[in-house]
Amino acid sequence: MIPLSYSFRNLWVRKLTTFLTAGGVALVVFVFAAVLMLAYGLEKTLVDTGSDDNAIVVRKGAQSEIMSMIDRNQANIIKSRPEIAVDAQQRPLAASEIVVLITLFKRGTQNPSLIQTRGVSPESLAMRRQVTLISGRIWQPGSLEVIVGSGVAKRFQGIGLGERIRFAMRDWTVVGIFDAEGSGFESEIWLDSEQLIQAFRRPVFSSLTLRLAGSERFSSLKERLETDPRLTVEVKRERQYYSDQSEMTANFIRILGVAVTLIFSLGAMIGAMITMYAAVANRTVEIGTLRALGFPRRSILFAFLFEALFLSLVGGGAGLLLASFLQAMTISTMNFNTFSELAFRFTLSPAIIIESIVFALSMGLLGGFLPAVWAARRNIIEALRAS
């Protein structure tokens, strides 16, 4: 076995070439990791919105709360199920909520976006444990006041603390800003559902969120509600429901991003191949010498293969490092499923790190394989004679 330091030091000697080839690999891995981090960040934000012991009820066939309509009678029937947990006063922990989309403009531009606005009931705040006020206060009952998620408060015009928004022929004052542990709620505006109903004169709810009296009661609840002839609803676990909301957009980002990255990973691979072929060509005499000294073909093959792998590992590591700085950025874009704005971050996960390194090493392996084979198969005499 030729010592690894041979491969390593050969890279060090031809610094410019090593730098350029590793740089090409680094750029490709950067984009690859960035795309995966984007899709994962989107999913994580939405999945974190849900909790394991909540179930959400929407109209049958509705793919998002915007499409769903449940009237008061149906809501009362749903709330009476025994599978729902109760609070200290024996009242069911069931939050009836209305979701609408309103148009707001990003600060400094004329670009409109649709913001999910949620009319909540008193139970909602108790049940959504992630939501905490970071400044201001909650609205006073009966007043035209709203609180705004931190994901959108900074980005959009007119929704800073104390500012007023106008919709449904009323002016609403922003009295508080809330955090929701990076979940989808941070991209929403919340207010009293009764005020929303009055403003839009739509006495129907979009969804009911129910706290289960035990996570295992879910299947019985689902079966009972979905087969009740008075209702046309579907029941999902909250986490599942929100994860489904991320599906279209996350898949789109992944498919597009990975397809493009794969294409130009071929470019980086070819770059590695060129470098390795040149490395072999320039060290023909050395290879002949090594063979003459008794090193078998296999060792030559592995030595050059390791050189290629080192190269791509360095490039991959650099690309990943660059990509990790993206985590400081918050992205805000429209989620295709709900048609509304969602703020999320690039998120790195151990899986993404491993996938990126494997991707980098594959580029090195595939790029370096043929040149390494060529090196191993050189005839000793011819190699020694080369100049």
């Binding site: 148009t103 470019g267 070819i270 770059g271 429209m334």
Partner: protein
């Protein structure tokens, strides 16, 4: 002339290396071309907009309906030559993956105001006669194997239940920017049913499309319409069709920016690959350059030699990549038809790709040229490897 011959021969001295470099550049240019085409496809709606059309929607957001009764008020506004309306149906055909846009429209006026949807007159007559008739675009008819007279069932989401439609027309677009994946049927078909099951929701449409006589008056007419419905339960926002479509594009602005950034990064990859090759090549040829300098060739000649070789390889790779963009784009376009119905390679993309090839060819030659020019002849002749 001898210099050019030298450039040519030099470029293909190392056939494998040159071939690999050309391949690498070609692939990267291909990726660049595809990415720019995806970015251009994003703006397809904006490009298809006509300057003499305005969109009137609910001021709160596009997802709130407008009353049908507004139609008379809009028609009466000065400068308006026609009004039609539509409602987004959002139904499911088989499953969510088989997505295409579905609109419940005012059957007579819709196709007058959108003349770009072209289909024969007898199909139009058949469409107008039946309440549950539908006109579908050529692309989705091909995708799902639909023919005239077929029944299509959609599962409603905003309007629950199963809805059956009969295909009475298949349209083609007037030009390349027209969406050929739309599914358009009678609004009255939906409204009839809604009146029976959910009477509060009856009599509402999604948005109005207004044709104006003079596009210059668009701003004034928009304001007139909005003022008419101010302080009512459904306040309106009127804007040009282009501004409306632009609004949608800006909603996904972050993704678009990311794609644009990636397309720039690709250029970096191309540059890295070519610079690497040129650096290696130049280093190997230092003794030769020393000989040339001894013979009296100056910096300019060396620059032409090196830059010429670099450009030749870059242009060969660029040319190959550009040639591959068209077939790759049609394949890609088919795969993404759901998301991006219009997928056309624009000539500006090809021009940009050519510029990049030339630019990269020149930049990659910079360092090797500098090195060759500043080489001391003695050092060059001394080098062994």
């Amino acid at each position: 002339m001898a210099l050019l011959k030298l450039v040519f021969k030099n470029a293909f001295r190392h056939k494998l290396r040159s071939a690999l470099t050309i391949a690498g550049i070609a692939i990267a240019i291909l990726a660049f071309g595809l990415l720019r085409t995806v970015i251009a496809a994003w703006y397809a709606g904006v490009e298809a907009s006509a300057p003499n059309r305005l969109i009137v929607r609910n001021a709160v957001s596009f997802t709130f309906p407008l009353p049908l009764s507004y139609k008379n008020g809009i028609v009466a506004a000065p400068g308006v030559s026609g009004v039609t309306y539509a409602l987004w149906f959002g139904g499911i055909y088989i499953d969510e993956k088989h997505f295409f846009p579905q609109f419940a429209v005012e059957p007579t006026t819709w196709f007058e105001i959108y003349p770009e949807f072209r289909f024969p007159a007898e199909q139009k007559r058949a469409f107008l006669r039946e309440r549950n008739a539908v006109v579908v675009g050529r692309k989705i008819a091909e995708r799902f194997g639909w023919k005239l007279g077929d029944t299509v069932r959609l599962r409603g989401t905003f309007f629950p239940g199963d809805w059956d439609f009969t295909i009475r027309g298949i349209y083609t677009g007037a030009d390349k920017t027209t969406d050929e994946t739309a599914f358009m049927f009678h609004w009255a078909y939906i409204n009839e049913q809604v009146r029976k099951t959910e009477p509060d929701r009856a009599g509402y449409i999604g948005w109005y499309v207004v044709r104006v006589n003079d596009p210059e008056q668009a701003g004034v007419i928009s304001q007139t319409i909005d003022q008419r419905f101010q302080n009512s339960l459904a306040e309106t926002k009127t804007e040009t069709e282009k501004a409306f479509q632009q609004g949608f594009v800006s909603m996904t602005g972050a993704i678009l920016t990311a794609l644009k950034v990636i397309s720039v990064v690709i250029i970096g990859v191309i540059l890295a690959v070519l610079s690497n090759t040129m650096a290696m090549t130049a280093r190997e040829r230092l003794p030769e350059y020393a000989v040339l300098k001894t013979l009296g060739f100056g910096a300019v000649h060396l620059a032409v030699l090196i830059a010429g070789e670099s450009l030749l390889i870059a242009l060969a790779g660029g040319g190959l990549g550009i040639a591959l963009i068209y077939p790759a784009a049609s394949g890609f376009g088919k795969a993404m038809e759901n998301f991006l119905p219009i997928f056309e390679v624009k000539s500006i993309t090809l021009v940009a790709a050519a510029f990049i090839a030339v630019g990269v060819g020149l930049v990659a030659a910079l360092f090797p040229t500098w090195r060759a020019v500043h080489l001391k002849i003695v050092d060059g002749l001394r080098r062994i490897g």
